[in-house]
């Protein structure tokens, strides 16, 4: 094949031999044979890397999609400032109205270790948002709280408490789906056929059932959505109770005392349990988790096949060199070590551009689809480990060709 490369490799072998007068394998070689093999033909290296990289990129994206799917529904829960959440026992997902009596919140305040219990109101079905530009209407998620008892961890919300107290005002989600239209401070439009004034925005983003969110004060919420059953001026039912625990108390023990205090129709969950409940629900609706893991598995199989092919071709072309090594007395363990090192180099070199491209695509897809595509530490480490495993397995499969090589056959 490439004469120059062959010569280089043979020279390498010579140097390696000089550097290692005793033929005991293992241990370090001064000449990085695996590295030199890798760089012997740069154009071929590029071609090989492209194939492996794209397989790794596929895994990156599939894992990113999976996280985006699972995390998008969790963003709103994560933005609630609470250690423990009270909710209706039958409430099975965040975006489905299932209120309970606010009286239970007062009862909960009596529990030992409770610092505060603050109400959150919600509406999903009858809340109709009118796009201020096209005048088309869409369902919106509407959340409300008492501005005297802020309950969201969204900084923009807490900066606008004073404005929220004014009648018919709301904060809108700057990351809502595009068809909601752009609403900024000062925009006037309609919510459920009543005039509403937007006094600012916050950043939340849509999920798989919600396209956009509005945050109101409790009093404005009542004006928009009070059911007929309610006497005027009362906020009888709440969607959630956000409980903060006094310093020095563990959430778990406060949860137990709340459990004993509250009737059976109120569920007491730590924030982590509420997040777990939502994830479990998302998984049961459409098992996308397995779908994206299947995609990742395909990436793994494709990657393994490609790296096997790459290594096999490399080894076939360098068979004379390896046979020479064998003839010189190097044992199989050494050859395996060289091939394995080479395959791990492939893994690392292929993973790096895939990671870079992955970051770029995460950004792009996150912006276009408004979904939380985050390059988490787990994904970075996970894909790196999978890539190394993939190439190492391919290396071990391919090395058989070298081990079978008989020096006397080659020449």
């Amino acid at each position: 094949m490439d004469v120059a490369a062959t010569t280089t490799s043979l020279v390498d072998i010579g140097r390696a031999t000089l550097a290692r007068p005793s033929f005991k394998s293992h241990g370090s070689t001064r000449v990085p044979l695996a590295w030199r093999n890798l760089l012997a033909d740069k154009r071929r290296l590029l071609r090989s890397i492209t194939g492996i990289s794209f397989a790794v990129l596929l895994m990156f994206l599939q894992l990113g999609f999976r996280n985006a799917f699972l995390d998008s529904a969790l963003r709103v829960i994560q933005s609630i400032d609470a250690d423990i959440v009270l909710m209706s026992t039958t409430k099975f997902r965040f975006g489905r109205k299932d209120p309970f009596s606010r009286r239970q919140l007062y009862a909960a305040r009596a529990a030992e270790g409770v610092l505060s219990v603050r109400p959150i109101y919600g509406e999903w079905m009858t809340s109709i948002w009118k796009n201020p530009e096209t005048q088309k209407t869409y369902n919106a998620q509407v959340l409300a709280f008492d501005p005297d008892e802020p309950v969201f961890l969204l900084p923009e919300v807490n900066q606008h408490l004073q404005e929220l107290r004014q009648p018919d005002t709301a904060l809108s989600d700057a990351n809502a789906r595009r068809f909601y239209g752009t609403a900024s401070a000062g925009t006037e439009t309609e919510l459920s056929r009543r005039r509403i004034r937007i006094i600012g925005t916050f950043a939340l983003g849509p999920d798989f059932t919600t396209d956009g969110t509005l945050i109101l004060s409790d009093r404005n919420f009542l004006k928009f959505f009070a059911s007929d059953r309610l006497a005027a001026g009362t906020l009888a039912d709440v969607e959630l109770g956000a409980v903060k625990v006094q310093p020095g108390y563990a959430a778990e023990e406060v949860k137990q005392s709340l459990r004993q205090l509250l009737p059976g129709n109120v569920a007491v969950r730590t924030k982590a349990e509420m997040l777990a409940l939502e994830t479990a629900f998302q998984n049961s609706v459409s098992p996308v988790g397995p779908i994206f893991l299947l995609g990742t598995a395909i990436g793994f199989v494709v990657g393994m096949m490609i790296s096997y092919q790459v290594l096999y071709t490399d080894l076939s072309d360098q068979l004379p060199q390896y046979a020479t090594l064998k003839a010189m007395g190097y044992d199989n363990a050494y050859l395996v070590q060289v091939v394995l090192t080479q395959s791990i180099f492939y893994a690392l070199i292929a993973w790096l551009p895939a990671w870079g491209l992955g970051l770029l695509l995460y950004r792009l897809i996150g912006d276009v689809a408004l979904l939380p595509m985050h390059m988490t530490f787990g994904i970075v480490i996970g894909t790196l480990a999978i890539t190394i495993a993939m190439c190492a397995i391919a290396g071990l499969l391919a090395v058989r060709r070298v081990l079978k090589a008989d020096p006397s056959d080659v020449f």
Partner: protein, 376 residues
């Protein structure tokens, strides 16, 4: 002759050719899978509409998609009857309620469709033959594809929807699509019993049947002139396109699977190209020999192209088989309406062949530069 030479080249080193075929197979399978997921999104969205009988559809001007249909006055349907071409009208009511499974102590969303049992709305014999069941008060038909969390879907079982006791009077099988985890059908009267805030005079959808031979586009144009702005009129095709467009471009599900398809095709093609070009490059000495023997470039090009096409075609056949098996497994596990279509099979084959041709062209450029003397 070219094909024979190409075949000999492939058959020469069977192990490596098998490996290449395996790589191409997985790449093609990847494209099939992602396309399947992607296309299942609008298909799931159209599950009900595909089974409904209508030529024109009336919907509220605030209609977004099936699960956000809003309502419009029933009067509009009666107004539509004024046109001689309109032979039948049928109102449809839809609402999402909370299904309480008392045994499992679980609540879940249920999508309820209400219609007059005298109207033939669905092309589903199972539903239409049970219209007498629907006439009983507080009785529903439940889709057997509803999620297991709903509890047993046994005839006679009593459950609660939005705090009202209803009896399961019968079952049918259609699938739930994406409107909810479970779907129930009932009469219009039962519908307003379950959802007391709904009125029979406010309908979600209006199905219009036209006289045979009437031109839907022309009737739609006239209806648009008659009906006020609170109601939209769609032909069947317009309505289907509206629904597909919503699912594909406006929902997170559609967007994610859309990106999935783009990525799968890009990755699939790169892998295809990588595998094919490795295979072709490996035979470079043979091609060079042919060149040295005096064969022309077009002749060698033909052989290279034949190798690429044969490899991708051999991989394509088992890939289709595997895709069908995987579709079936996914259909059972996720209840996604994932199906193979001949258009998709042709599109993927075209992609595979296109990539084969491209890989052959790239390889030929390398070959053209190659000097037979150097190759040995």
């Amino acid at each position: 002759m070219k094909a024979l030479v190409a075949w000999r080249m492939i058959a020469h080193e069977k192990g490596r050719s098998a490996l290449a075929i395996g790589g191409i197979l997985v790449a093609i399978l990847l494209m099939f899978l992602q396309l399947g997921f992607y296309m299942s999104v609008p298909q799931g969205g159209l599950l009900f509409y595909d089974k409904m009988r209508f030529d024109l559809m009336l919907a509220s001007s605030s209609y977004v998609f099936e699960a956000q249909a809003s309502t419009f006055p029933r009067r509009r349907l009666l107004q539509a009857l004024a046109l001689p071409e309109v032979t039948q009208i049928a109102p449809l009511y839809q609402e999402s309620g909370r299904w309480l499974n008392a045994d499992g102590r679980l609540a879940r969303d249920v999508f309820v469709i209400g219609f007059n049992p005298n109207d033939v709305i669905f092309d589903l014999p199972e539903v239409m033959s049970q219209s007498d069941v629907l006439r009983r008060p507080d009785t529903i038909l439940v889709d057997t594809a509803s999620r297991p969390e709903f509890g047993s879907i046994g005839v006679g079982r009593q459950i609660e929807i939005d705090h009202r006791n209803v009896t399961i009077g019968g079952t049918y099988q259609l699938g739930t699509g994406f409107v909810g985890l479970g779907v129930a059908m009932t009469s219009d009267l039962n519908f307003v019993r379950i959802f007391p805030r709904q009125k029979l005079s406010d309908v979600s959808l209006g199905l219009i049947t036209l006289q045979r031979g009437a031109d839907p586009a022309e009737v739609v144009a006239r209806l648009r002139g008659i009906l006020p702005a609170d109601t939209q009129v769609f032909t069947r095709r317009e309505f289907t396109n509206h629904e597909i467009n919503h699912w594909v471009t406006r929902t997170s599900t559609g967007l994610i699977f859309g990106f999935g398809v783009v990525v799968a095709i890009a990755v699939g093609l790169v892998i295809l190209n990588q595998t094919l070009s490795t295979q072709i490059m490996r035979n470079l000495p043979q091609y060079a020999t042919l060149k040295a023997m005096g064969f022309g470039e077009t002749h060698i090009g033909g052989i290279v192209a034949a190798v690429a096409i044969i490899l991708s075609t051999i991989s394509y056949i088992p890939a289709v088989g595997l895709a069908l098996i995987l579709y079936e497994i996914i259909r059972r596990a996720t209840l996604l309406p994932i199906e193979m279509t001949s258009a998709r099979m042709l599109a993927v084959l075209a992609l595979a062949w296109g990539m084969s041709a491209l890989s052959a062209i790239v390889a030929l450029r390398v070959l053209r530069r190659a000097d037979p003397v150097e190759l040995f």
